[in-house]
């Protein structure tokens, strides 16, 4: 009879214990169920961000009036050596491809960012270089040869990208590619494929041989050299961002029998990103045309919300602390809120971090367009936590407690970004916009706290830089 009673008690005990248990599934489960019954949904935020970035990039490119050959590299093939003493060579000709504009020699400067042009002209020929040929030839048309015995001989040593302010008569000076050719055509002997309209336009645009120079060649030689831009620049930026966190735990500390929780940590916590902000300034130095280094100071405000439950009275919470060498301490706290509870007690608490960081990094220019660049950048950021409010989860995942003394004061972050940089006409003021990811390398709490939290921010960085 007693044995029978014991058996019933055991079954009741098992049943009651099993019924008490609640486990919280990971978000993956609902995501899969929802996809199964309603079909796959696209992440609206990602779509929106992609659309926004795409729209900004497109608008920027359109407003900046890009070249037709936007993605083609500019270069001079077979550069002709400069020789101001050389006699005009009747037999020498240059094939002019793509859009040709001959610069007005009366102006003396041309600059666009780091692309410089040096135009060295024969003294005799300078006199006739006061004309512009505008979009004379279309790309699809065959090349045409200009006889340099009759027309000015321009010797170019670099890619040409001239500023319209500096060159009267030229609405826009574009790339010129010259190459020496053995064939010699004149406009009267156009090769097949050049139609009459193009020939007429070119003929009207070409300089008149009898025109006399009004420019002092020596003065021009002194002024034609271009002023180089400074290699130093100052940058200001702001980055609105959303903060997420990646959680993991040290199993050896939390998985003892007294606190073993069958729920995984990520299944038990539910957090929502909130808007943060980064404000900063940096000094940049252009090592080369494509590579620059930078260092600066920035302030970061990051925050996220945690789903929690209000409790009528503070419930005790326990945190296991790893003292090393398999020694563990336990912290009991009463100022806690619950991580589980009835729906009517739902609430949110927010973890805030206010940080000062010193980013040091580099920028790598990946592609250059007409007045814009596509740039990749990375920084390493020693970070000091000026102030923070952080709720830590207890070892049994049932509560959140505040333990400021467990939080790190110093940390390290890293940032990677990709952006488009747009230059103004003079090239000394640049705007940039693009996505940025910032990741916190060390956990927010000290090593002895077994739960590892790494913050990760997804932001849109907007900046302006001015050449010093």
């Amino acid at each position: 009879m007693k044995r029978k009673l014991y058996q019933d008690e055991l079954e009741d005990f098992l049943s009651a214990s099993a019924e008490d248990l609640r486990m919280y599934p990971s978000s993956r489960v609902w995501h899969n169920i929802d996809n199964k019954i309603h079909g796959e949904k696209k992440w609206p935020a990602l779509t929106f961000a992609a659309f926004l970035i795409g729209a900004i990039s497109l608008a920027g490119l359109i407003l900046m009036k890009p070249d037709k050959d936007l993605f083609k590299p500019r270069h001079i093939t077979n550069t002709v050596a400069a020789n101001t003493n050389a006699q005009p060579q009747a037999s020498k000709a240059f094939v002019v491809s793509e859009n040709l504009i001959v610069a007005n020699s009366g102006k003396n400067q041309a600059a666009d960012g780091d692309e410089l042009m040096q135009v060295l002209m024969n003294e005799q020929d300078l006199a006739t270089a006061n004309t512009v040929v505008e979009n004379a030839l279309r790309q699809e048309e065959p090349t045409i040869t200009v006889n340099t015995a009759q027309y000015p001989q321009a010797v170019l040593q670099s890619s040409v990208l001239l500023n319209e302010e500096d060159w009267t008569g030229a609405n826009r000076v574009q790339s010129i590619t010259l190459r020496e050719e053995s064939n010699n055509y004149t406009l009267n002997e156009l090769p097949a494929g050049i139609n009459a309209e193009t020939a007429a336009r070119l003929s009207a645009a070409l300089p008149q041989p009898q025109a006399k120079s009004t420019v002092d060649a020596e003065a021009l030689a002194n002024t034609v050299s271009l002023k180089k831009a400074s290699k130093w620049s100052l940058q200001y930026y702001a980055t609105p961002s959303l903060s997420y966190r990646l959680l993991s735990e040290v199993k050896d500390v939390n998985n003892t029998s007294s606190i073993a929780a069958p729920n995984s940590l990520n299944a038990m916590v539910n957090h929502k990103p909130k808007l943060g902000l980064e404000l900063g300034s940096a000094v940049m130095y252009n090592v080369t045309d494509y590579f620059s280094v930078k260092a600066g100071l920035q302030l970061n405000y990051r925050q996220y919300a945690i789903d929690a439950y209000a409790t009528p009275a503070n419930q005790p919470a326990m945190i296991r602390i790893d003292r090393g060498n398999n020694r563990f301490d336990t912290i009991y706290a009463n100022n806690s809120i619950s991580n589980v509870g009835p729906q009517q007690n739902e609430m949110q608490v927010t973890n805030h971090y206010f940080q000062l960081a010193m980013p040091v990094g580099f920028e790598l220019s990946m592609a250059t367009f007409n007045t814009s660049k596509f740039v990749l950048a990375a920084t390493f950021q020693p970070t000091y936590n000026i102030g923070q409010q952080s709720w830590l989860i207890s070892s049994d995942y049932q509560s959140y407690v505040k333990q400021p003394d467990l939080m790190r004061k110093w940390n390290f972050n890293t940032g990677v970004e990709a952006f488009l940089r747009f230059s103004n006409k003079s090239g000394n003021l640049n705007w940039q916009v693009g996505p940025q990811i910032r990741y916190q390398l060390l956990p927010g709490a000290q090593k002895k706290y077994p739960v590892r939290e790494h913050l990760i921010d997804y932001g849109l960085k907007i900046g302006v830089s001015k050449t010093l």
């Binding site: 098992l14 169920i33 007294s258």
Partner: protein
């Protein structure tokens, strides 16, 4: 949101009602799955499959019993089907090793439910399934025999062995005290 509203919403395939139903019952149902499963991941897979069935079969619920009980039966049957499909019934674990591997500490009362479930999960799959169905889910041995395709007597014998094993584990982990056998009990036994 009341249960009737949730059911009505789910019948119309309304996402908010479905999410509400899931939020309300998934913690309890995952605990059920966890008792049958080998790991938490397996339990979540069972839960996922079970809830898809719940949403797709909700029109068959006839308001004759508790809604939670109806969901629970679907979840339990899903667990059994998954175990059958994966042929898990043949697996066994070394009970002695599993028990000794645990750190022996006094268990706080608040942790007792978790610990009991963890002890149940130490049993071999076949024993565990029968024990779960009989002692906790309330199925009869005849029903268990039908569900698991075994004889009623096999279910009884497996349950007896499962309970004895579990008793050992619970005593070794100091979750229950060893019963003091008295002379009359021994005579009666």
């Amino acid at each position: 949101m009341t249960e009737d509203l949730i059911i009505a919403g789910c019948l119309q395939n309304h996402p908010v009602a479905q999410r509400e139903l899931y939020n309300r019952y998934s913690p309890k149902m995952l605990a059920v799955c966890y008792r049958f499963a080998h790991s938490r991941e397996d339990a979540e897979d069972m839960l996922q499959e079970g809830f898809i069935k719940v949403f797709s079969q909700i029109h068959t619920f006839q308001n004759k019993g508790a809604f939670e009980g109806w969901i629970r039966r679907i979840i339990v049957h899903t667990c059994i089907n998954v175990l059958k499909r994966n042929k898990k019934f043949t697996e066994a674990v070394n009970i002695e090793y599993a028990v000794e591997a645990q750190v022996k500490e006094i268990i706080p009362a608040i942790m007792q439910a978790k610990q009991v479930v963890e002890c149940i999960r130490l049993l071999p799959t076949g024993y565990r399934t029968v024990l779960n169905l009989y002692a906790i889910e309330g199925y009869s041995h005849r029903e268990i025999g039908d569900i698991l395709d075994i004889g009623e007597s096999t279910s009884r014998s497996q349950y007896t062995r499962a309970k004895a094993m579990l008793e050992q584990v619970l005593i070794k982990k100091r979750i229950i005290d060893k019963p003091e056998l008295q002379p009359d009990v021994m005579i009666a036994f």
